[in-house]
């Protein structure tokens, strides 16, 4: 008698509802929980209670709640009669009822009318044709009586169907929309009645259909004729000379226009090249000027050779040096001045062609300055510097306004004309 609860899809029908003879409920009711007795136990005077209820009561007080006779767990007895009575109790199938909000369980006119014994009710309800199940295609359909399920499946909006044109799977309520869109559907061309599938129709219309109106292929050359595709050949034949003339004038115009365009383009490019050249020349023309101030000349000249600080031009280091009384017997009495490249830094194979001058500035009268121009390629073969060994007489330099406050001004302006790499085969 353990099966007093049965779960239905949405609710549980209480046992008091399903019992056919409602009068019998009072006789089979537990005096403690007021429900139909579950696992009946009785006192010696025959008062019946659910086993759970009476056990709970006995924990508090060891007497029968009804007659107050002395009672404990050992004194409780079963009642086979009541047990059998309960098992064989006539009940309605739970699908005889339906639940109505704020009213409760009422008889379902569409429900099951079967009357069974309580012990067989679960078995019956499992197979009852009036029970409810979810539609196998979609929960959206809600629960449906098993009895009506086959009929439902035949018209369920979610039942699967296959498109007969493209074989794709759909639910029944999708198929109408799909048929409007399916591009595998068979159609006939509205002009030539040729059969085809929908997705080929555009291609057919644009390239094949003899009855579609098309433009003469020579429309770019000026033929404005239109006709059905099937008449194309006859049009071409008829209009051969006309088309040739149209083409000739069309292409003449085209070529003239292209020429114009081309020469404009060329001019534009020329201008750009000139501009670039100009800006390049401007850049390379910008020669570097260096002014070297030689202080305490009278003291320094005693060394016989004076050398400037190094300065950087074109990424390399340079310096000026001069001999105050020549650098050889031949140049004795002259100043020998040279521009030097610091060759330690220059990579093998690289050469620089320079235009430069070396100038002794006359501080009394600028026009009397002595300027020597050179053009040469560094590095110098067999030496480091290039200049003039007899640039100016030492006596002139020391007396004619070149030195003021014991200070001499030497200037140079260097312009790199060319940078070359000569790659020689390596020794290895």
């Amino acid at each position: 008698m353990d099966r007093f609860q049965y779960t239905e899809l949405e609710n549980t029908v209480p046992i008091e509802v399903v019992i056919v003879d409602q009068e019998i409920i009072k006789e089979l009711q537990c005096g403690i929980c007021l429900q139909i007795i579950n696992k009946p136990r009785q006192c010696k005077n025959g008062h019946l209670f659910c086993m759970d209820c009476i056990l709970q009561s006995l924990k508090k007080i060891q007497e029968c709640p009804e007659c107050r006779c002395s009672l404990n767990v050992e004194k409780l007895s079963r009642s086979l009669f009541v047990e059998r009575h309960l098992r064989t109790l006539s009940v309605f199938c739970k699908y005889h009822f339906k639940y109505q909000k704020s009213v409760g369980w009422i008889v379902d006119e569409q429900g099951c009318n079967e009357i069974i014994s309580l012990e067989n009710s679960a078995k019956h309800e499992n197979i009852c044709e009036h029970s409810f199940e979810y539609c196998k295609f979609s929960k959206e359909c809600g629960v449906i009586r098993r009895r009506l399920m086959d009929a439902h499946y035949e018209e369920c909006p979610y039942r699967p169907v296959q498109c007969q044109h493209c074989n794709a799977d759909f639910t029944h309520n999708e198929i109408t929309n799909h048929l409007n869109e399916c591009d595998m559907i068979k159609i006939e061309c509205d002009r030539c009645n040729a059969p085809m599938i929908k997705k080929e129709f555009e291609k057919h219309k644009l390239n094949l259909c003899p009855n579609y109106h098309i433009q003469c292929p020579f429309f770019e050359s000026g033929c404005n004729a239109t006709f059905d595709r099937k008449d194309l050949e006859s049009h071409i034949e008829k209009s051969l000379s006309h088309h040739l003339l149209l083409m000739k004038s069309h292409y003449t115009d085209t070529i003239t226009n292209l020429k114009k365009e081309f020469s404009l383009l060329l001019k534009d490019k020329d201008d750009k090249i000139k501009q670039l050249e100009k800006s390049m020349n401007e850049k390379s023309d910008s020669s570097k000027k260096v002014e070297w101030c030689v202080k305490n000349y009278s003291i320094l000249k005693k060394k016989g050779y004076i050398q400037s600080e190094k300065f950087t031009i074109g990424g390399f280091q340079w310096f000026i040096g001069f001999y105050t009384d020549g650098d050889s017997n031949d140049s004795k009495g002259y100043i020998s001045i040279y521009l030097f490249l610091d060759t330690n830094q220059i990579p093998k194979g690289k050469s620089l062609t320079l235009e430069y001058y070396l100038k002794f500035f006359n501080q009394r009268d600028q026009t009397l300055s002595v300027k020597k121009d050179f053009r040469t390629t560094f590095p110098i073969k067999g030496g480091q510097g290039w200049g003039d060994r007899k640039a100016i007489r030492a006596s002139v330099l020391e007396s004619n306004g070149f030195i003021k406050d014991d200070t001499l001004l030497v200037m140079t302006s260097i312009l790199i004309k060319k940078t070359c790499w000569s790659i020689e085969e390596s020794d290895s």
């Binding site: 005096g31 403690i32 929980c33 007021l34 429900q35 009561s57 508090k60 007080i61 007497e63 709640p65």
Partner: protein
């Protein structure tokens, strides 16, 4: 809130649907374990009320509360209306065996209220709760009944 045991639902339904004569019990909407109870004083008792004015009787308000342990424990019942009765004290507490050691889970709200109603018909000064009232009852029952009637008129009209 704990769900209400089926037994309490069943009892409440029956109390409302088939009330016992002279007794009404209405559950509080916010707490279904708390009942407002009205008991009409039994005919031929000092708590009957003024019959000559065609009143049905004295009207006594009580409160009844079902503990979590119910029905394994008795409900708690108390008079809210002042009453002159040897088994009911100033605070409305009731001396009734079934509300104490003689409680049985086979008893119900209905049986408890019927017992209280019966207690009004048959005061028992030998098992008093209000000693002075019981004394009064035993020494001069007539006078005590007169006081009870007076109280009924004053408080339970």
């Amino acid at each position: 809130m704990n769900s209400l045991p089926k037994r309490i639902i069943k009892e409440t339904e029956r109390l409302v649907k088939e009330p016992a004569p002279g007794i009404s019990a209405t559950p509080n909407e916010e707490n279904l374990r708390y009942f407002n109870v009205v008991i009409t004083g039994p005919v031929d008792s000092p708590f009957q009320g003024n019959v000559s004015h065609h009143k049905s009787g004295g009207v006594f308000n009580l409160e009844l509360f079902l503990t979590d342990d119910y029905p394994m424990s008795a409900p708690k019942v108390r008079f809210l209306t002042k009453i002159y009765h040897p088994n009911i004290d100033k605070l409305g507490r009731i001396c009734l065996d079934i509300l104490k050691d003689k409680w049985s889970p086979a008893l119900q709200i209905r049986t408890v209220l019927l017992s209280i109603q019966a207690l009004l018909s048959a005061p028992n000064p030998d098992d008093p709760l209000a000693n002075d009232v019981a004394e009064h009852w035993k020494s001069n029952e007539k006078d005590a009944i007169q006081t009870a009637k007076e109280w009924t008129r004053l408080y339970a009209a």
